[in-house]
């Protein structure tokens, strides 16, 4: 089964891929790691994003092995620098 997730890019990562979001189709069930691998291989410039970036699923920090479902919003986050 295949599903679509919305991937969002921020700050330097957005500059690397030249966009702020991308809808990505991938085989389900999937993890954050699967999304990152898909981004790195299919999105132009995505190979410059680290292999294990910080990530969030549906507005929450998520580990590399966290599950991703169809319709989820997955964000790849450069090292945070708030405050």
């Amino acid at each position: 089964m295949t599903g679509t997730v919305r991937v969002r890019f921020f700050a330097r990562y957005a500059e690397l891929v030249g966009r702020t979001e991308s809808d990505l189709a991938l085989a389900l069930p999937a993890t954050v790691g699967d999304v990152v691998r898909a981004v790195r291989t299919t999105v132009p410039g995505g190979g410059e994003i680290p292999e294990r970036p910080l990530a969030a699923v549906n507005l929450r920090h998520a580990r590399f092995d966290a599950p991703v479902r169809a319709g989820d919003e997955v964000a790849l986050l450069p090292p945070v620098a708030g405050g």
Partner: protein, 143 residues
Amino acid sequence: MSYLTKDPILVGPLLAAVSAPERGGTALFLGSVRSGAGEDVTGIEYSGYEDMVEAEFGRIVAEAGERWRGARVEVRHRLGLVPVGEASIAVAAAAPHRAAAFDACRYVIEEVKKRLPIWKKEFHADGTTVWVDPSGKPQAAPR
């Protein structure tokens, strides 16, 4: 109500929002754009994953309220270009006694530094910009 603002952060309303007769101690933290001796930073542009910032701020504030019962916390983060000397973040915490006010305020700013999806682009006097990587690797931003 939003935890984010594009305008200068006003301290007065933030202090007023946490104050109450039963809370005798109030701690405030202001984080400002810094330019040390020999540095040529003119400002920092803050950008964020805004929906997640609101959610994460809500979680951090709720955690502080559970950990320090009777404490009330308010926080604002500024986005956009912030000139040197102006505050990018303000955290106000009031509690019946001072220890809880200090500790809750400190908790919020430490969690913000670890968890809040906000990024900084430093603007230098020579016109260059650099993404700030808190892990210690500044990287030139493509213009």
